[in-house]
Amino acid sequence: MPKVIEINCVTGEEVEREMTDKELEHYEAIKEAYESKAE
C-alpha cells in the first residue's frame, strides 16, 4: 500500500499513513494512464 507523508500546517505534526481508498483510486488511475501512454 502506498504511503502518504502528511504535514498538518496548523500543528506542524508530520505523520506517515496509508493512502485512503479515494487517494489510492486516483493514484492507480494516473499510474495506469501514464504507463499506457509510455507503451
Binding site: 502506498p2 504511503k3 502518504v4 507523508i5 502528511e6 504535514i7 498538518n8 500546517c9 496548523v10 500543528t11 506542524g12 508530520e14 506517515e16 493512502m19 479515494k22 487517494e23 483510486e25 486516483h26 493514484y27 488511475a29 494516473i30 499510474k31 501514464y34
Partner: protein
Amino acid sequence: MAISNLGGKNRWVEIASSSPTSGTSVSFTSIPQYGRLQLVWFALDTNTSNAALFYATFNNDTGSNYAYGKLAENSTPVTRLVTTGKDTNINFGGLFTASQGSGKLLIEQANEIFKTISFSHFTGVINSDQPSCLIGDGIWNSSSAVDRIDLTINAGTFKSGTIKLYGSN
C-alpha cells in the same frame, strides 16, 4: 516604497516544510488562508529504478478540474506540450533516480473564487528524450480556498530533498 513597508503586506512566510525519505505522496493539510501560496521543492530524489511521474492536486480534488499548458526542453529543440484542457492533476513531468529535481508551484488568488497557477520543474535526465526543464501556466477550476496540496510520484518512494510551503497576502 518606504523601507518600513517591506516587512508587511506581500511578504512571504514559511507555512510548513518536509524532507521526505519515504512515502509516495507528501500532503500539506489544514493550510491557512493566504492570497498566494508557493510550494518550492529542492533536490528531490526517489528510489525508483527509472522515471517517476511527479504531480500535484489541491484539496483532494481528483476531478478533471486542472487545465494548463506547458513547455518542456530537453536535448532537442523546445517541445510544446499541451493538455486536453482539463486534467485530474498538475503534471510536472518526471523525477529520475539520482537526478534530484527542483522547482516551484505558485498559486495566485489561493483564497479567491478563481485560481491561477504557474510552475517550473528542473531535473537531470536518464535519457535524452525526457525533459530536463519544464515551465507551465494554467488554472484550477474551483471556487474553494486552497487548504490542502498533495505532491505525488507514481512509482517508488521519495528518498531525499526538501519541500517547503510559503504563503503571502
